[in-house]
């Protein structure tokens, strides 16, 4: 279970990093095409937007696991150890529930987009479910990261 989770975390982070690099490449290509060759590729804004969705959602788990998210520690640090742990667990459970709720509705959105065959109103006519899929995928990985964290707290307590 945890080995599988680690592979998923790594894959998600790798995909998000690749999307970030692809973003640079495609936007620079458009600038060169437009200013040097005088033709616009007509797709950089569209594709860069899709890549941002990928960077965003696939990267959330990496930020969470890497401890890059912010929080106000001031009051937390004044609490006794046991109470603080209790609050952490309650908060993590609430966060997991919230992410799962959003994940569920995002997945329904993508399925409906697929069923209705939604296409981007652009030259590429991208089937929109493809870039939209990053949203539920990333949220699922994030939920998994929250779950792993809760499990490790439970293990420590036991």
């Amino acid at each position: 279970m945890s080995a599988l989770a680690r592979i998923l975390f790594a894959a998600s982070r790798w995909a998000a990093s690749t999307a970030l690099i692809a973003m640079v490449v495609i936007v620079v290509a458009e600038i060169i095409a437009r200013n040097v060759f005088g033709v616009s590729l007509q797709l950089s804004e569209e594709v860069a937007g899709y890549l941002l969705v990928a960077v965003c959602f696939l990267g959330f788990a990496a930020s969470y696991r890497g401890g890059d998210l912010m929080r106000i520690d001031m009051i937390r640090e004044l609490l006794p150890e046991a109470l603080r742990r209790g609050i952490d667990v309650v908060f993590d459970v609430a966060a997991l529930a919230a992410v799962l709720v959003v994940d569920y509705f995002a997945a329904r959105f993508v399925i409906s987009s697929y069923n209705r065959g939604m296409l981007a109103p652009t030259l590429l006519e991208t089937p929109l479910w493809i870039p939209q899929l990053f949203i539920p995928l990333g949220l699922t990985v994030l939920a998994l990261a929250l779950l792993c964290r809760l499990l490790s707290i439970a293990e420590e307590a036991a």
């Binding site: 941002l52 969470y64 890497g66 106000i72 509705f105």
Partner: protein, 435 residues
């Protein structure tokens, strides 16, 4: 439910979760979700997918990870060391010496970096060892670094301004240009203060063998500044002359940062991989707050809380100055509770309609907001730049705060100046070349 009660409940819940120490994006997300369910039941959540997709499929927001990547690449290739060294040489004759260098280096780094924390950390890391070995007063040094760092979000590029633009549909290119003159003016104001203070009361003790005698030849000083200046010209010039949108300028900046890194710094695969990973995590920590705030803003819109709030605020018939004073107070208080990104993404969608109704220039409001955020970044208990300098220097927080206090007055004074002379903000954006 009464809309006012609902507003208070949602904001109260958010505040409780934040103060309880929940991770920021989760606190914002949970408050937003509960608010949607309270108004429309589970049915209301059906729009979530569309809200997230519509919000994140955005060319404007793409600038955030790209600008972060650009500064990460440069930072990891060690551009700050020669930058600091050359600027130290240039401003040496001014009273205040290296303290002046701190502000000037921060202002220049701010031109390739969109974050205050990153600017303070980048310059603080190279500056502090120098300052200590040269016997500078620690408090004065901390103050100049913490305050100088805040220029990161005023001088373009600026992540808060990208967010402001994406939530209000004001042009990010214009917002960036609006920050240029105030950014330079504020940097000069800081430098003037340092000079005056140094003349009244010397800021450094004489130390033997300070290294002042190690003089770089002038051509080295100039050569060290060339790559940096070049990048600044490409990025800001591209936006000003309309060759590139801010997002395109960011991508171009990344490409040139790679070239500069390969030519002058130790760019290799490992460094690049580290830069990408750090940018990804840093960007996503910000974007997560932004995404959560989209859900939050949707909750407000759904219950028409924003419109109601605007009507309610307008019903007081405050005159413009009283309204501005109230805003100032609100943001000073909020700055003590929220960090900069959350402050913008939560308050701007709510208050922007009222700001427009008062006939306040959206560019001016953006810059005033950024200065107020900078102020928040310097004030305890949560002023994030104080903690950055504390972490780098290992000094007690109290010492950092005491060094920073004089800058509070300068910033509030500067805010009054741009209120009296809004042209400082609006002049440059008015001169831009539109594509």
């Amino acid at each position: 439910m009464d809309w006012a009660a609902q507003l208070v409940l949602v904001l109260g819940l958010l505040l409780a979760l934040l103060l309880g120490g929940m991770w920021l994006p989760f606190a914002i997300l949970i408050s937003g979700l509960l608010s949607i369910v309270a108004v429309d039941g589970w049915f209301g959540l059906n729009a979530l997918g569309f809200v997230l997709w519509g919000g994140t499929n955005s060319f404007t927001l793409t600038g955030i990870p790209l600008f972060i990547l650009m500064s990460e690449i440069l930072l990891r290739c060690g551009v700050t060391v020669p930058l600091y060294r050359s600027l130290a040489r240039i401003v040496q004759p001014l009273p205040g010496g290296l303290l002046q260098t701190n502000v000037l280096a921060s202002a220049l780094f701010a031109a390739i970096c969109g974050s205050s924390v990153a600017t303070a950390a980048a310059i603080g890391t190279v500056a502090l060892p120098n300052l200590e070995s040269h016997g500078y007063d620690r408090r004065a040094a901390f103050g100049s670094l913490a305050a100088g760092g805040t220029l990161g979000i005023l001088i373009p590029p600026s992540i808060p301004l990208i967010l402001y633009g994406s939530f209000t549909e004001v042009s990010v290119a214009k917002l960036f240009m609006a920050g240029v003159v105030p950014g330079i003016a504020l940097a000069l104001l800081f430098m003037a203060y340092i000079a005056v203070r140094a003349l009244v009361k010397p800021v450094r003790k004489p130390v033997e063998g300070t290294g002042d005698e190690v003089r770089l030849p002038l051509w080295r000083t100039v050569a060290d500044l060339v790559p940096f200046t070049f990048l600044m010209v490409v990025v800001l010039g591209g936006i000003y002359f309309g060759f590139a949108t801010p997002t395109e300028a960011a991508a171009l900046g990344c490409a040139f940062a790679l070239v500069i890194g390969a030519m002058f710094g130790g760019l290799n695969r490992t460094v690049l991989a580290q830069a990408v990973e750090a940018s990804l995590r840093g960007s996503c920590a910000i974007l997560f707050i932004v995404v959560a705030a989209m859900v939050f803003a949707f909750a407000f819109e759904n219950a028409s809380l924003g419109t109601r709030l605007t009507e309610w605020l307008l019903s007081f018939n405050l005159d413009r100055n009283a309204f501005l004073a109230a805003l100032l107070l609100l943001y000073v208080v909020l700055g003590c509770l929220l960090e900069s990104i959350a402050m913008i993404v939560i308050t701007v969608p709510l208050l922007f309609p009222t700001v427009l109704a008062y006939g306040i220039d959206p560019l001016w409001f953006a810059i005033a907001l950024v200065i107020l955020i900078e102020f928040g970044q310097l004030t305890p208990p949560f002023g994030i730049n104080l903690f950055v300098i504390k972490r780098i220097s290992g000094a007690p927080l109290g010492q950092v705060v005491r060094g920073t206090v004089p800058y509070y007055g300068l910033m509030i004074g500067f805010l009054l100046v741009i209120t009296a002379f809004p042209q400082i903000v609006t002049w440059l954006p008015g001169m831009m070349f539109e594509r």
